[in-house]
Amino acid sequence: MALLEVRDLTVAFDTPDGVVHAVNGISFDLDPGETLGLVGESGSGKTQTALALLGLLAENGQAQGSVRFRGQELLGLSTSELSRIRGSKISMIFQDPVSSLNPYMTIGDQLVEVLTHHRNLRRREARSRAEEMLDQVQLSDPASRMRQYPHELSGGMCQRVMIAMGLLCQPDLLIADEPTTALDVTVQSQINTLMGELSEQSSTAILLITHDLGVVAGLCDRVLVMYAGQEMELAEVHDLFGDPRHPYTEGLLNSVPRLDQLRSGILNAIPGNPPNLLQLPEGCPFSSRCRYSFERCSERPDFERVSEGRYKRCHLDRIPAQVDQETTESV
């Protein structure tokens, strides 16, 4: 049985300008121990999907559909029922580590609180567990870190503390929302290596939300590509990068400049801008920017199975093969 089953999840926000349709009926499964990447640009609904899973939407937000965690429906649970799950069975780390920590509490107290609250450990026991955990996320000198406040640590160190906190109760699922986006590249690489190791050692499943295709390539088993609150493509990571089946996925992959390639000439940018979530187009939301769009694209395509474990939302059977105008030289 899948650890997490999301079915037809929609998230809408009531705003003075109208209803913003942030997530429009997405479905996916997550297996134990698996790392699923949720990829898309800003406004694609990836963060709101994660927040909806945990009942953390803003007050004007409304989630519908079904989210089953180990068979238990999460949508509609009361706050007290949810808080028994949050932090113990499902935990989340956010993009900005410094502001996610409480500035008035020492690192140690914040970690201990998690254990005394969820695991009913005594303080002394909790402290030694917390210290062990800081050691596991390779924070230097854990004993003295426990007595420090968040402002005394760097961004990378705070993110290690967040990861330690997320893993303290050995959750079944860790949701990581852009965990390295705010960090410098050398620190990002340390944190990604750490996350990769931790997911190998434990059976924790990870839902990794990111816009960085390089991070996805390194860490994820499967990838779900989102656009305008809908799934565009779902595939195993090697299939997605090696043979994208949705024009948006192809467009994303082609538009990133790559460190390992010398591209002469121009980047293949995707023209135009993402659609307005207040007035989504009736048909395929990507059609106005898609180089292959044709008449049928004015009808909304279904999210169809292509092959085992592969789905796409596109009327095209296959992306037409094309001669690339630019010369790409691999090094």
Binding site: E41, S42, Q138, S140, S154, G156, M157, D184, V185, T186, V187, Q188, S189, Q190, N192, T193, H211, D212, L213, G214, V215, V216, A217, G218, V237, H238, F241, G242, G251, L252, L253, S255, V256, P257, R258, L259, D260, L262, R263, I266, L267, N268, A269, I270, P271, N273, P274, V331
Partner: protein, 342 residues
């Protein structure tokens, strides 16, 4: 080689900050930019990379006279900008323009696009007629890929990518020769980022601009730059032409930076060998003695802590500030196992 348009020599920018409490002052100096020298040639793109706090933005601001350096010189077409009066400097700013990171935050929300783009024209060419200004502004908008009929719209009606186009139009409307771009695409989504990168490259070619392209994203810098300058804690670690930097980095920090960037290809990404750097960047208030990178460097030896390595110029024109770069080029392995796969 053509003579450089911009020559920066031994430029240092220091900030004095008060770390005392209550009535006790305790002043400390941060060397945000520390004895930096480099040239920019005509119609060339110089990429400047480094992590946050390495001084790349301060360097840009110092070139434009927006912060006051404590030492050094900035020669623009042979004339030292640092000796100029405020008024004379303002005139030079027509020739040297700046593009900012936050596209919408750097535009006045109460001005129309037309007024935003026209403002520099009105400052530098007060004799232009309204019609001439309007024509020039519309021509500029077209050049950067905006619709001229949007001239009366306000910034909030545009997306981030379009706002960055407005910022570019405003910078280019007065025909500058050098444009300093401070993280121009890092706030944009990848698909939009590619549009803006293409636009900048295209305009540079058309208008024969020199660009200083400051970014933390090494992949973007590789794509746009002719030469690349790598900074760390206010100092230059390495300068070389683009392919030498990326294919054959000589400084251990450059190597570490390049190894850290994830590649969007699962096959390659997973078979890469990677040596993570130890620890975080030290505080700029209290930089290490000798080589500033030595505390994180896998190849550091005793001598590295003694004197600051000079920025040595090699035959190829490459410059490196590392006392062990020759040994490294000969295939020196990292001796300290603590650094490997930490």
């Amino acid at each position: 080689m053509r003579p450089p348009v911009l020559e920066v020599r031994d430029l240092s920018v220091h900030f004095r900050i008060d770390t005392g409490r209550f009535f006790r002052h305790d002043y400390q100096t941060i060397k945000a930019v520390d004895q930096v020298s480099f040239n920019v040639h005509s119609a060339e793109t110089l990429g400047i990379v480094g992590e946050s706090g390495c001084g790349k933005s301060t360097l840009a601001r110092a070139i434009l006279g927006l912060v006051k350096p404590v030492a050094g010189s900035v020669d623009w077409l042979g004339e030292n900008l640092l000796g100029l009066t405020e008024e004379a400097m303002r005139a030079k700013r027509r020739e040297i323009q700046l593009i900012f990171q936050d596209p919408s935050g750097s535009l006045d929300p109460r001005m129309t696009v037309g007024d935003i783009v026209a403002e520099p024209l009105r400052t530098f060419y007060p004799s232009m007629t309204r019609l001439q200004v309007r024509e020039r502004v519309q021509g500029m908008m077209k050049l950067v890929g905006l619709l001229p009929e949007q001239i009366n719209r306000y910034p909030h009606e545009f997306s981030g990518g379009q706002c960055q186009r407005i910022g570019i139009a405003r910078a280019l409307v007065v025909n500058p020769r050098l444009v300093v771009c401070d993280e121009p695409v890092s706030a944009l989504d990848v698909s939009i980022q590619a549009q803006i990168v293409n636009l900048l490259k295209d305009l540079q070619k058309k208008l024969q601009l020199s660009l200083i392209f400051i970014a933390h994203d090494l992949s973007v810098v590789r794509h746009v730059s002719d030469r690349v300058l790598v900074m760390y804690l206010g100092q230059i670690m390495e300068v070389a032409d683009r392919d030498s930097i990326y294919l054959n980095p000589r400084h251990p920090y450059t190597r570490a930076l390049i190894e850290s960037v994830p590649i969007p290809d699962p096959v390659r990404e997973r078979e890469r060998s990677r040596r993570s750097l130890k620890a975080d960047m030290p505080s700029p208030m209290n930089p290490p003695s000798g080589c500033v990178f030595r505390t994180r460097c896998p190849y550091a030896i005793q001598a590295c802590s003694e004197t600051r390595p000079a920025l040595e110029t090699l035959d190829s024109g490459r410059q490196v500030a590392c006392i062990r770069h020759r040994e490294l080029a000969d295939g020196l392995e990292a001796p300290d196992p603590e650094f490997v796969d930490q």
